[in-house]
Point group: C2
């Protein structure tokens, strides 16, 4: 038997999106890149309406992007934040990204991604759309602890929410308007 | 630029462990396989003291094993449960495993793996050691919701805890006694 393994890939178009956005110097530019990736993922039908990216807070360099590829990769773990974390850690050869690393995400993390954030070693999380915006189009964010922002803060991770929420919500609404697949592990695949 | 991706692999010895355990007909045999994988992972120093496996509840077939390979794979996502889920879903070509799928795990899931369970589509979770047993040797289980068993049950996932807890705890204690690395995303790598 071959050694059991699995591989998760981002869509090929992500490289063009990276090339288009050479430099980042503000939170707005970083989040706009994430939003653009989310829009592309929806328009090109390569996954769900969720995007994320990891940046170095000091150099403002993009470390890794991520988009939701659950359906395309047949993998319920393939949320945007998880893709960015997995790619960044293998790129840097470290299972801890370090406190200078910022995670930008187009929608506040679901229960799984929230649980993954402290283990990733990032120092900051910036979210656009809220959980309720994802729920409004039928996505389930899972059973998150009520005080999730405090829980991250207590672990030394700073959290910014509602940052460009309108733009994050627009990605979700675009997906819904195009009749995108909603999946929540409920056996309705 | 090449298409961003990441690959997670189980250690090669897992195939021998699978061959040794041809058939499974009881929960005890399934959990014993998981415990054996945990012991091997510790003894062969291929990862943390955590193992898991997915079985078909009707045929009792092993779908996919998993062990913690966080350090070896430079990936904080590479917990035992996540490995089993990722491998099983790619093997079956589906992001929802189905309610006939059972997840056996040597220690109750951390916050991330707990969040991943509903998205995976499994119908049953069986845990050996408790969160507090993992914490006793220095591992952090994350900010889990207090009523995590109820939260899974309400989603139609049945949960059995403290099943062969002594054996699950023994894997943790073996790791601690051998001076195994403790990592919690706190920048102390």
């Amino acid at each position: 038997m071959t050694q059991p393994s699995f591989t998760l890939k981002l869509p090929e178009w992500i490289n063009k999106e990276i090339e288009k956005n050479g430099t980042f110097s503000s939170d707005e530019q970083k989040m706009q890149f994430v939003i653009n990736c989310g829009i592309q993922n929806v328009k090109l039908q390569t996954g769900g309406p969720f995007a994320a990216a990891l940046f170095n807070a000091k150099t403002h360099e993009l470390i890794a992007p991520g988009v939701n590829v659950v359906v395309a990769s047949h993998c319920s773990l393939a949320h945007a934040e998880m893709m960015a974390i997995g790619i960044a850690q293998q790129k840097l050869g470290s299972f801890e990204l370090g406190k200078d690393t910022e995670l930008f995400t187009s929608t506040a993390p679901c229960a799984m991604c929230l649980g993954a954030i402290p283990w990733s070693g990032v120092g900051r999380v910036v979210c656009a759309a809220r959980d309720e915006d994802a729920r409004a189009i039928g996505f389930d964010e899972g059973a998150k602890i009520d005080n999730w922002i405090d829980a991250l803060t207590q672990r030394g991770i700073s959290v910014t929410v509602d940052f460009m929420r309108t733009e994050g919500k627009a990605v979700l609404d675009l997906y819904a308007s195009l009749g995108g697949k909603i999946y929540n592990g409920t056996g309705e695949e």
